[in-house]
């Protein structure tokens, strides 16, 4: 392909890419314009089907233009737009819940996953119960979360945490299991202790899978959040979606959904960037070389 990015010498040696070069590549890559086009087509279809034609079930949906007007209005009909404090209160509440849940899921999930891959006994003890608990949907956990966790905030964070936690454990475990046995043999020959093997072979070796897991976990946090925020009486983007549905404020409901999607996208991108930074040794692999 003509626009295949060339790898600079610095990248090959250190896996670092200057920001300017990254932006330049982005601006030249077909994927960027394909993405833009995809988004444009989506909104165009919405406009044509709902605003212009309004056929069949589409007639009941919020209009694109009306939704955007409400979202950008200094004086919104339903009380929420980018100019109102309430909008940001929901965003901050949700971001706080997602990030504390994600943080806890990462710490605990990675630790447990590594332990399961490292010690056969621990795997034997935990794997069956993990596999039983894992398929239980978030909504089914709600009563237990309320009974177990005090206050209004902790049950929400706990529920947001849960799916991400299981995903992180499983991917970390897979990551440890996927490490080529030859590295363990090399470490033994080189005289590594168990701890040195853990820190220099198991953890970095499992990192690629861990980060795949963390990206899925971040997504899991966001969709669990919306279920968990049923419990919230006042704030959160998920709560706002439920509330606007209840009060038939469809334009606000849709703009809140879009906001959820936007922050989900940003937070997944942050996880991806962190992964690239921690895995410079894979720079060439990730660049598709």
């Amino acid at each position: 392909m003509a626009s295949e990015p060339t790898i600079t010498k610095a990248e090959k040696q250190h896996g670092k890419t200057p920001a300017v070069i990254r932006l330049w590549r982005l601006a030249r890559s077909p994927a960027f314009y394909q993405g833009l086009l995809g988004v444009a087509v989506f909104f165009l279809l919405w406009y044509v089907l709902v605003d212009l034609i309004g056929l069949w079930r589409f007639s009941g949906l919020p209009k694109l233009v009306g939704g955007i007007e409400e979202w950008l209005s200094p004086d919104p009909v339903f009380g929420v737009s980018i100019f109102t404090a309430e909008y940001y209160r929901h965003i901050v509440a949700s971001l706080f819940r997602v990030f504390s849940a994600f943080f806890a899921a990462t710490i605990l999930g990675v630790a447990i996953g590594i332990l399961m891959g490292w010690r056969r006994v621990f795997f034997g003890l935990t794997f069956p119960i993990l596999e039983v608990l894992r398929p239980i949907p978030i909504l089914a956990w709600i009563p237990l979360a309320i009974i177990l966790l005090p206050g209004r905030e902790l049950p929400i964070i706990g529920l947001t945490f849960l799916a991400a936690f299981f995903v992180t454990i499983l991917n970390t475990l897979l990551g440890v299991q996927a490490i080529d046995k030859v590295y363990f043999r090399a470490a033994q020959s080189l005289g590594f202790t168990e701890w040195q093997t853990l820190w220099h072979v198991i953890v970095p070796g499992a990192l690629p899978y861990i980060f795949v897991g963390l990206q899925i976990a971040m997504g899991a946090c966001w969709f669990s959040l919306v279920a968990a925020e049923i419990l919230s009486g006042s704030a959160g983007l998920g709560y706002k979606v439920w509330e606007t549905y209840y009060y038939v404020q469809f334009p606000t409901m849709v703009s809140t959904m879009a906001t959820l999607g936007f922050f989900g996208y940003i937070s997944s991108a942050l996880v991806r960037i962190a992964g690239h930074r921690l895995m410079r040794w894979r720079a060439n692999v990730l660049a598709g070389v």
Binding site: Q188, M279, W281
Partner: protein, 272 residues
Amino acid sequence: MQGALSIKNAGKIYDPGGSHVVALDGISLEIVAGEFCVIVGPSGCGKTTLLNAIAGFDQLTAGEIWLDGELMASPGKRLKPGPDRMVVFQHGALFPWKKVLWNVTCGPLKQGRLTQAEANEKAREFLARVGLHGIEDQYPEALSGGQKRRVEIVRALMNDPKVLLLDEPFRALDALTKSVVQEHLLELFDFEPETIFFITHDLEEAIFLADRAVVMTTRPGTIKKIVDVDIPRPRDLKVLTSSRFLALKAELGAAIHEEAKMAFESGERELA
């Protein structure tokens, strides 16, 4: 000098209760300290099984392996790999998530035998000796196949092993790269003779490198023929066309060919 390797009647049977595959049967071999010993044989003849037993990765089911009067392997003995028997693996085992310098210095550092400064200096010296300069800060991913193999040999030698075990280390290299890396290995060997146990299925490689070439048979893996390679050192690629080389090649070739044919006819696949 260290590194006398004594293999006494070594045997290995995989799955004794079931398919009962005899991978090694009655292998006896005395390798003197500082000898370059090459095991050559067709795929599946148990070469790698023997190497894994010496390295301490796999149990023997019969016999003993001694290194400088210390028992390394016997049936039921606890496996104990260590830096006295460094292995260079068939497909390479440089840690891809660590830079070259870390890979090369980790052995003596983790064993607490050298300081960081000493290890760095020794690493640079060894890398330079195999023609590698200024690659210390690169990740293995950025190196060519031939460079990786040389780094891996340096990583092994950094530990001053009593015996260096190489498992078809140049298998994946193209012919040109292979000859360069072979010459580097010989230079290292001439500079600091060290017991080397080298596995290959490549006849020319065996003769070019070895003091003694050992031909193995296929299932059961036994020793078919041992040939002294009396070509003087230091050797270079010109050796490959000498009459002595060609005579040895013919002698070993006949033994190997019989084995390869038998292996092919019995439809054996690579064992390890």
